[in-house]
C-alpha cells in the first residue's frame, strides 16, 4: 500500500501523522509537506527525546513505506554506510573457478593472447553480485521508495558528512567500479542531530532545517492523550503543567516529551487519581536522570504541584 504520490495538503500530513500516534505541530507538518513537494531532505535538530526519530518512524508507518535506519557514530565510514565488496565471496569464487579458468585459457598460445581472452570476460568479480549494499545503497534500491533515517549525524565525522552530500542533493551514489547508482524512486530522507557539533554549511544548505523544541502545553497534552489513552484529563493537565514548571529550572537535563510519556505511563500504572506530593516524590526519577537535578527539584515540588493544579482549575 505504498503511497508515493505527494500529499495534497499540510492538513493531510497532520492528520496522517496523527493516525500513527504522532501529534505534529504545524511547523513539523509544513516541513514534511514541503520535503515531499520539493524533494529535499529534512534536517531535524532539537534536544534529546522530543521525537526526532519518532517522526521518521511515523512518516514511514503512515505512508506504508519501509524505514531504513543508519545510526551514526564516530568512525562510521563508507564501507559500513554505503557498500562493501564481498571479499570472501570473491576469493571463494576465484578458487572454485580456477579449473574453469584453466579451460578457458587453455587454448591460448601466448601469455598475451591469454590476457586478451581474459579481458573479454569483463570485470566479473566487480559486478553487482559482489556488492554488499549498506543502508544508504539499500535506500536507493527500494523500488517503492522508503524513509531513510540518518540518525544522530552530529556523532559522525566531518568526512562522512561530505559522503552524504551526493545522496542528499541528487539521490545517487557513485561506486567507482560500477558507475553511478540513481535512486529508483527518491527516498524521504530525515537527518537528526543533537547539535553536539556544528554541521557543515554544505550539508545544511541541502536540507530543510527543522528545529523541534519542547512542545507547548496544549500540544503536549494531546501527545500524552494519544500515547497514553488510559490517563484522566485532570491528571494529564496537572502533570503536563508540572513538567512545564520543571523546565523553567536550570537543570542538567530537562525532561522532554519521551520522559513525559514515560511518567504518564507510570502514573497510570500506579493508579494515581491526581498529582500528589508523595507520588511525585516517588516517581521523580522517571522524569529526571541526574541525582543533582532531582535534588534541585525536590524542594520545589509542592509549589509546582500547587501551580499546576491551579492551572487546571482555570483552564
Amino acid at each position: 500500500m505504498a503511497d508515493t504520490r505527494p500529499t495534497a495538503s499540510i492538513e493531510a500530513v497532520e492528520s496522517g501523522l496523527a493516525a500513527q500516534g504522532y501529534i505534529a505541530s504545524r511547523q513539523i507538518a509544513t516541513a514534511v509537506y514541503l520535503a515531499q513537494q520539493i524533494e529535499k531532505p529534512i534536517l531535524v535538530e532539537g534536544p534529546a527525546g522530543v521525537g526526532k526519530t519518532e517522526l521518521a518512524k511515523a512518516i514511514a508507518a503512515w505512508r506504508g513505506m519501509k524505514m531504513i535506519r543508519l545510526q551514526c557514530y564516530e568512525g562510521l565510514d563508507e564501507a559500513k554506510a554505503l557498500y562493501e565488496w564481498k571479499y570472501a565471496k570473491q576469493l571463494l569464487y576465484t578458487q572454485i573457478l580456477k579449473d574453469k579458468l584453466g579451460e578457458v585459457l587453455g587454448g591460448a598460445p601466448t601469455l598475451e593472447a591469454a590476457l586478451n581472452q581474459l579481458h573479454d570476460f569483463g570485470d566479473v568479480f566487480f559486478s553487482k553480485e559482489f556488492v554488499e549494499p549498506r543502508p544508504l545503497l539499500q535506500a536507493l534500491e527500494q523500488p517503492a521508495g522508503c524513509v531513510l533515517l540518518v540518525d544522530e549525524i552530529d556523532k559522525s565525522d566531518a568526512e562522512f558528512e561530505s559522503l552524504l552530500l551526493e545522496i542528499l542533493s541528487d539521490f545517487q551514489v557513485t561506486i567507482p567500479e560500477l558507475g553511478t547508482v540513481v535512486a529508483v524512486s527518491p527516498p524521504t530522507v530525515i537527518l537528526t542531530s543533537n547539535s553536539e557539533r556544528d554541521l557543515g554549511d554544505a550539508l545544511k544548505r541541502r536540507c530543510l532545517h527543522l528545529h523541534i523544541g519542547f512542545p507547548e502545553q496544549k500540544l503536549e497534552e494531546r501527545i500524552v492523550e494519544s500515547r497514553v489513552p488510559g490517563i484522566s484529563q485532570t491528571l494529564r493537565r496537572q502533570m503536563v503543567g508540572f513538567i512545564n514548571e520543571v523546565r523553567t529550572l536550570d537543570l542538567k537535563k530537562l525532561p522532554s516529551v519521551s520522559e513525559t510519556i514515560d511518567w504518564a505511563r507510570v502514573l497510570v500504572l500506579l493508579q494515581a487519581p491526581e498529582l500528589g506530593h508523595e507520588v511525585v516524590k516517588d516517581t521523580l526519577n522517571v522524569l529526571l536522570k541526574y541525582e543533582a537535578d532531582i535534588e534541585a527539584t525536590m524542594p520545589q515540588v509542592s509549589t509546582f504541584i500547587a501551580k499546576a493544579s491551579r492551572q487546571g482549575v482555570f483552564g
Binding site: 514541503l34 535538530e45 570472501a88
Partner: protein, 458 residues
Amino acid sequence: MRENLHRFFRAARGAGVRLSPAESIDAMRAVSKVGFADRAILRDTFLLTLAKTQDEKKALGDCFDLFFDQPEPESPPEDGKAEEQDTQGSSAASDSPGETGGGDEQPEGLGQLAQMLLAQDRNQISAAIATAASAASLSDIRYFTQRGIFSGRILDQMGLQRLRDDLDNLTATNPALAERLTNALDGLRGTVRDTVSQALMLYGREEAENLRNEILRNAPLSRIEPRQVEQMRHLIRQIARRLRERYSKPRKRQRRGHLDVRRTIRRNAAWGGVPFLTAWKRRHRDKPKIVALCDVSGSVARVSDFFLLLIHSLHEVVDDVRSFAFSGHLIEVSDILESKSPEEAMAEIMSKVGFGSSDYGSSLDDFEHGWMNAITPQTTVIVLGDARSNNLDPRADILRRIAERSKRLVWLNPEGRMAWGWGDSEMPRYSTFCTVVRQCATAKQLERAVSDIVASYQ
C-alpha cells in the same frame, strides 16, 4: 510578488541570515507550493528553507514580522505596488485612482499630491509612499545618517515641489484650505520618516553592526567604556567561533610516507596475509597545549579578561589550557573560568589577586615552585602583561627556564613598542628569552596573536 520576495531576501541578509542563491531558489519553490494565503505557514516555510541555525531562525522570524508588517492597509497598496513594477514608479503611475478620490469640493488646478492629502485617503497615500520609496531605491539604505536624504528623495518623488506651488497659490486665495494642506503635509512628513526608519531597520542592520564591530575591533581594549564591554564579549565570541571553524578540523595525512607493516599484516590476516588492504603510518598532530600567565593589575586587567575569555572559548581547537593570573602573587584560575560565567569569574579572580601592584619576579617565582611541571615540550606559554615590575627584581632567569622547557614562549604586551624599556618596563630583558613578542592592545591584534599560536601546531 516575486519582486517582494527578492526584497525580503535582501532584508533577511540585512538581518544577518546567510542566504545563498540556491537557498533563495529553494524558498521560491517552496513558496510556490504553499502559496501566500496563510501568513503563519508562509513564515514557517521561510524558517524551514532559509534559516539554518537557531539564531538565524530568530533573526529571520523578526525580520519576517517587520517586513510583512510594512504595508499596513491590506489590498490597495498591493495594487499600487503591482503597478509600480510596470512603470518603475513614475509619479504618474497612481494617477488614475487619484481622480476618483479627488472629490467634490476641492478647487480645480491642484496637484495630484495636494488632492490626495485633502481627500485623506490613507490607502492611496501609503500606496504612493511605497511607489516613491521604490523609485528612490529605499532598500539601498545602509546607515542612519542617510535617513534625511532618503526622506527628501521620497517626498520629491511624490511631487513635493508641486505641492509647495499649490500652497503658495492657496495662501493667497484660500487660507483655510492652505492650513489644512499644511497640516496634512506635516502628517505626511511623519509617515515618510517612519517608513524610512523601518527600512533602515530592515536593510541597514547588518551594515551598521559591521561598522560598529570594525570600530570596536580596532579600539584599545583597556580603554573601552563599560557599556561596550558586553558588545566586546560578543565580538570576542565571534572571533572564537571563527578561529574554531578554521582550526578545529584535523587534517589527516593518510596514505603518505611509510607503510605500517604491522597493522597491514594484522588487517589482512583473514586473507592469509595477502595484503588486500594497506595501512599507512599516520603523522600524529598535537592539538595546542597552552599555559597562559596573565597580569591582572591595573590597566592590563581588561585585556587579560578578554584574552582569557577567548582562550577558554576555544575548546574544540585547543586540547588543554591552564591559566594563571597574577599581580603581586600568582594563582591558577582555570577552574574558576571553566565553571562560572565570564563576569562572575573575572570578579572572583579580581577579588583574589587583582588590584595589587604587579611584581613579576615573585609571580614567576610562584609559578616555578607550584606549576613548572605543567610545561611540556608541546606547550606554548603565553605571558600577557606590560612587564612593569615596579623596579623589583624581574627574575628573568625563571623566564629563561620556562622558555627552555616549552615549545614556544609568546609575550603579548598591551603597550606600544615605543614604551617598552622606558621607566620600570623590563620588556627588553624578558624579550631575549621569548620566541615571539608582539603588541596586543585591540581585539584585532588579539585575534592575530591567538590565530598564529594555534596555527603553529597545524
